[in-house]
């Protein structure tokens, strides 16, 4: 059995070089949630030449919209959503320096190529394991687009968040 790799975020070029498709890894550090509406807004800002509310350079985006947090808890259920819906918005984000993405399911051929071009990585997390994955989140803070509610951008600090490498440079 291959060893499960531990990776500390933000991702470095060295981290990406050490990975192969199919590898299991445990991520620790900061990730930002963003799903459909947040992607649409980020890309609109880029198109207008405006500054983004978060600096994406070397960062990792998690396609996720968590449930509400119960009092005294860090986060609610927080599994991945389908990544292909984000394909149309991914290239401009990679261009601004986005390095990692976490979601579920396949990416388009175009995005698979872009991931190579920008030396990035796409991981899958386990779909439908939101309660389990909530135990891997240590901190939650709202980072942008609060008005989007569950679709807002949250800054999460995760510890040993399990993923599998799906597409790579």
């Amino acid at each position: 059995m291959k060893k499960i790799k531990k990776i500390y975020l933000p991702l470095s070029e060295k981290d990406i070089k050490s990975l192969s498709v199919g590898d299991e890894a445990l991520l620790s550090g900061v990730i930002y949630t963003a799903r459909d509406q947040a992607h649409k807004r980020l890309v609109e800002l880029i198109k207008k030449g405006k500054r983004l509310p978060i600096d994406l350079k070397n960062q990792t985006i998690y396609y996720c919209g968590p449930t509400k947090t119960r009092p005294g808890k860090i986060i609610g259920s927080c599994g991945p959503t389908t990544s292909s819906r984000m394909d149309a918005f991914t290239q401009p984000l990679l261009k601004t320096g986005l390095r990692g993405m976490i979601g579920k399911g396949n990416r388009s051929k175009e995005i698979a190529r872009a991931i190579k071009k920008y030396n990035a990585v796409y991981f899958i997390a386990i779909g439908g394991a939101g309660a389990y994955l909530s135990k891997k989140v240590r901190k939650l803070k709202i980072a942008a687009f609060k008005d989007l509610g569950p679709e807002a951008v949250y800054k999460l600090e995760v510890k040993d968040f399990p993923v599998i490498v799906w597409n790579l440079n």
Binding site: P66, T82, S84, G128, G130, L148, G149, I164
Partner: protein, 281 residues
Amino acid sequence: MRNISVKKIKQAVSGLCIDANTNLRKDVFSALTKAVRAERAGKARRIFEILIENARIAKKERLAICQDTGIVCVYLEIGQEARLAGGSLEKAVNDGVRLGYKKGYFRNSIADPLTRKNTGNNAPAVIHTKIVKGDKVRITVVPKGFGCENKNQIKMFMPTADLAEIKKFIIDVVKQAGPDACPPYTIGVGIGGTFEKAAELSKEALLRKVTSHKSQVTSQVAKLEKKLLKEINSLNIGPSGVGGKTTALGVNILTYPTHIAGLPVAVSIGCHAMRFATKIV
């Protein structure tokens, strides 16, 4: 006539929303435990172990099994001897959804289709009613996630189409869902009726036990279900799409007589966390 207060319906819907979202169906849970035993080692096995652990955590902590707590489909089987009193039934159902989603700390996922503005309380539900015998109301709450809902398909076949064509279509729908919609899937198929009847049947089929239910269907349908399950499981999509012996937990088919000129076939994909809860009021 038996009077049933719509307040009772509201309370029942609220409780069912919480139960369905936090307590994985027994038949699905046992199908997962069966699937984990089929995988000797590796990623597929580890993922199944996590899915089982996930269901346990959700139940224990009243956390949503999946963060996509869905669009709520409510099935009301209303006994024709029952009289629903004390206000609007539709409002009672939607109030129940609002209450349940607030109490459960679930995600509000419902938005206007064009402005995309979130309704902020996960209402309204999609309500299906059926008039049945008796004086009771059977309420079934199905929180349907959209990762899998997006993969559903319907096709209007020629009446002369053979079983092989229908089978190919169903398998192609699963192939197209691929790893995206949280496999292993539960597959619901509706054959016959009209465009909307086939779609409704395919959804209702997801509410059947994922394991065998031979007594409820004809032997031809049971045989087709078995064959489809075998072929779908040979697709090697597996849990999360990593490959494995289990791509579907079960296939259920419901049929209805149709017109001599056509043959509608609808396929509904359910994820491995196919949820619902039922109560009789």
